[in-house]
Symmetry: C2
Subunit: 356 residues, 2 copies
DNA sequence: CCCCGGACTGGAAACGTTTACACCTCGTTG
DNA sequence: CAACGAGGTGTAAACGTTTCCAGTCCGGGG
């Protein structure tokens, strides 16, 4: 019943050829038509399938790109993984996904594990490793980063153009007539970059930044931070560094009887699957995870040929939904504005090119 | 700079031992303390890491369990994958995830691919393959299914106890005073099973089933099906076979000015991440994906030792939120009921044991 | 003093491929 | 007609491990 899998030797014997010829026939080498036919027949008869482990041992390659990512639950990372798979598939390769749950130690182990399996490349999502640690762990395997969390080195990486996204969000709020805009900030690297971009964008709009309160990227972080922000009666809009924080804020506002968007406008960041289902549907900066994954996969595959070490910046998009509107009591000093009545969903491209 | 990775031979030379001794030292065989020390020192000095590909070739095992799943975007499948990883990690093994996007052909290819990599087992999520096809594709590799979509054979599998979940949902609605309950049904196997369970539960509650309309498990399916259901003025509650359908229904209801839960109660199925964020927060049957993944991984690991071929039934949980309430105009024939005011979130365990 | 067995070690054979190299057989060209 | 090259084939050596088997070296019991 469950005989051992046939090997190339079995095929060779069955077809009356040598294993070298079989290997060539299977891999598109030069073989006479007659031999090729006999071999294909034998393969079919025996149900032979190549053993990629043995093949990997001799070729030194595995056809696998290792992907280390925080988790699979968040739709953003899942989309990135999907993008990576997209381009690997075009090259007849596959991804091996390992999660590190944001623990640097787990990240190191994951890289170790993948290297022991001879991956041909590594895509690291949100890596926290120091450049030296990374070099030690990855050795000579080509690496590409997505939204790297640790400090840069000369490894190629793709990042969201966070600044452009933040700018689009702030400009949207400013144009609606908001003057005092608060910010719920994240503490990881992209959170910090968004915070700086927020300050810059506010300055560019000629506005004093409102209160800025930092927290985790999570619902709880948003809810906790909300307390501070909602106590300031002059704040008419809040820009959150993540959708999850925005959810926390929305809940806190609801509990206090603060109406969104009438009393308070809220902008999120990420455009997670469910941002459109919130009440009200959330205006947010869409992070194109799948594109980012695609770009990273291309980077890692091109690594051996590419001389430059680019940082690819992917442009986000502002998705305007119903959580933003003109402030109820516009600043009397400001020119009067008409209430914006956005279409159910309106997409505004951020103002930066896709790569830089 | 980027020298070739050191092999066990290099370690042996460096430590003045044979490769056999090094291998034993590394794998916990009998080795003198002195040799072990020298070898460990050499390993550290050289930065040696075992090559799992070579190891896999000789041992015939890979330490990998292949997981074939529809996609990574849906949080449910991601949770299942997480559960699988949980138990594999306890065994020092890892998962290799491949997506098939519900295409049987891609599923076959995925299995093929994983087998070529010598996976030690296979977990198939929502497999649509016929038993014969599966046997052909998987050969002698142990298989466990989760929510198998194709017909059963003697392969071990874990399923949600769909019937218990449906019963809990229907009983909840009936207890609230609803008499005419519609059903938005799915067309895949679990959709069909939920549909039958719905009929059974309605019968058990002594109620005539309301309209049943089948569609995809998606938002669009829900929205399309909603049209039919909402035209029936006697329907005061709808039980949906998935949360995504419930979202579509919620939107359709909102567009028509039908208030949920006042005019219409809605129950979903799955408890996806964002079910609690909907307006109103959705009452739904929670599918414990992570548990199901855990159970499946255990099944596949135990396969070589297990004689029985169990179908594990995992109990779902009814999560009562704000999308269900007493009907506005209760059936005059029914005894009067007080309006249920559920706590913000109330969890009701379904009435079946976890396995059968 | 011999023998036995336990603790430890090394040589060598696998595992299933790819591929360098040598060879053989033609037909073609000089 | 000799030499050569192209096309096709097979032998054998890798790839980096694990593991079987045959040792070697001891100490202790007969």
């Amino acid at each position: 019943m469950s005989r051992p899998r046939p090997t190339i030797h079995d095929v060779a014997r069955e077809a009356g050829a040598s294993i070298a010829t079989v290997s060539r026939a299977l891999n598109g080498g030069v073989v006479s038509a007659a031999a090729r036919d006999r071999i294909e027949a034998a393969v079919a008869r025996l149900g032979y399938r190549r053993n990629d482990v043995a093949r990997g041992l001799v070729t030194g390659r595995s056809g696998l790109v290792g992907v280390v990512l925080p988790d699979l639950i968040g739709p953003l990372y899942a989309h990135m993984a999907r993008g990576i798979e997209d381009v690997l598939e075009e090259h007849g390769m596959h991804a091996m996904l390992v999660t590190d749950h944001l623990e640097p130690d787990a990240e190191r182990r994951a890289i170790e594990l993948l290297r022991a399996r001879q991956v041909d490349g590594l895509v690291l999502i949100g890596s926290r490793l120091q450049p030296a640690e990374l070099r030690a762990a990855a050795g000579s395997v080509p690496v590409a980063h997505v939204q790297r969390d640790g400090p840069d080195d000369d490894a190629p990486q793709v990042r969201l153009d966070d600044a452009a996204g933040v700018r689009a969000a702030v400009e949207h709020l400013a144009a609606a007539g908001h003057r005092r805009i608060a910010h719920l900030a994240g503490t990881r690297r992209d959170g910090i970059e968004r915070r700086e971009a927020f300050l810059a964008a506010m300055a560019a709009a000629g506005l004093e930044p409102g209160p800025i309160v930092a927290g985790g990227f999570t619902e709880e972080g948003g809810e906790a931070a909300a307390a501070v922000v909602l106590d300031d009666p002059d704040v008419s809009a809040v820009f959150c560094a993540s959708d999850r924080m925005a959810v926390g804020l929305l809940h806190a506002a609801q509990r206090r009887g603060i109406a969104v968007p009438d009393d308070l406008s809220v902008v999120g960041f990420d455009d997670l699957t469910w941002a459109r289902y919130l009440c009200p549907p959330l205006t947010t900066v869409r992070q194109p995870g799948r594109e980012m994954g695609r770009a990273a996969a291309r980077l890692v595959l091109d690594a051996p040929f590419e001389a430059a070490v680019p940082t690819l910046r992917i442009a986000p998009t502002l998705v305007v939904r119903a959580s933003t509107a003109a402030p109820r009591f516009p600043d009397p000093a400001a020119p009067p504005r008409t209430r914006q009545a956005p279409a159910p969903e309106e997409v505004i491209a951020a103002d930066r090119p896709a790569s830089s």
